[in-house]
Symmetry: C2
Subunit: 124 residues, 2 copies
DNA sequence: CAAACGTATCAACATTTTTTGATCGGAGAG
DNA sequence: CTCTCCGATCAAAAAATGTTGATACGTTTG
């Protein structure tokens, strides 16, 4: 079943990770450098367990990594993961990866929908 | 309160719209041109009311538009809306819009977090 | 007009996600 | 060793999201 294709999962997970204001705010803070949870806590005024929850979502999506030092956990962005979403977006619009050129031809959807959807008698 | 900033909403809504396999599949089909609901129905093997639901999510996010002709509703992508997500992603990584160059300087987050989060004593 | 069709919408339900408060474990300080 | 701090995890509750089947509405066809 196309829609259940396992290859959907990574993009879906990453887009989902970005679909929450708290998580976008966390990423915006991480943009300026590594943060520990208590940094985020004071910056965002959010409960600790809530931040741990959202950090885990981001981590499971591969958008951040963590590192322990003493009793602190330091989190940082994974820029490459964000870039892979550029590619996913480009596939949706059939543009070339990283928007280097606009060929605008109908092409496969390897990253997003490898074996999916290629409809037969559909659309105009 | 930064996190409740209304300006979060558009990006959050769009990322959320992309965080579902059915909706990604719909967009992938629309990539090749306008579709009516019944096209999507036969291509995806999904129930009609389910597709109407997801199409509304996509429409509310501004990722598709619809147009009525007789008893058909024709949907098409809004490429510009997808492009605005490129900009949002770039803001998260502090890269220049559309990846034209990598200045990598700390800058404001106008699209994503206009008045948000600018933390004081945070991070390394 | 009546029947068939394409689609939106609704209500009920199932599932998933998020929040909250509590507890636990590891690490360092006294 | 004991106390404090940082942060992960858990259970329960709350909220949001997705699915399903039924119904309603406008349009076309006969």
């Amino acid at each position: 079943m196309p829609l259940a294709s396992p290859s959907f999962a990574p993009a879906v997970r990453r887009f989902h990770a970005l679909s929450d204001p708290t998580r976008l705010a966390i990423l915006a803070l991480l943009r300026d450098g590594e943060c520990c949870v208590c940094d985020l806590q004071s910056a965002l005024g959010a409960a600790q367990s809530r931040l741990s929850f959202h950090l885990r979502v981001l981590k499971d999506a591969g958008l951040v990594t963590d590192r322990k030092d003493g009793r602190w956990s330091w989190y940082q962005m994974v820029p490459h993961a964000l870039e892979s979403l550029h590619d996913s977006l480009d596939e949706l619009t059939a543009a070339a990866p990283f928007r280097k050129a606009p060929p605008r031809v109908s092409q496969a959807l390897p990253l997003l929908l490898p074996d999916a959807v290629q409809a037969d008698g559909c659309c105009g």
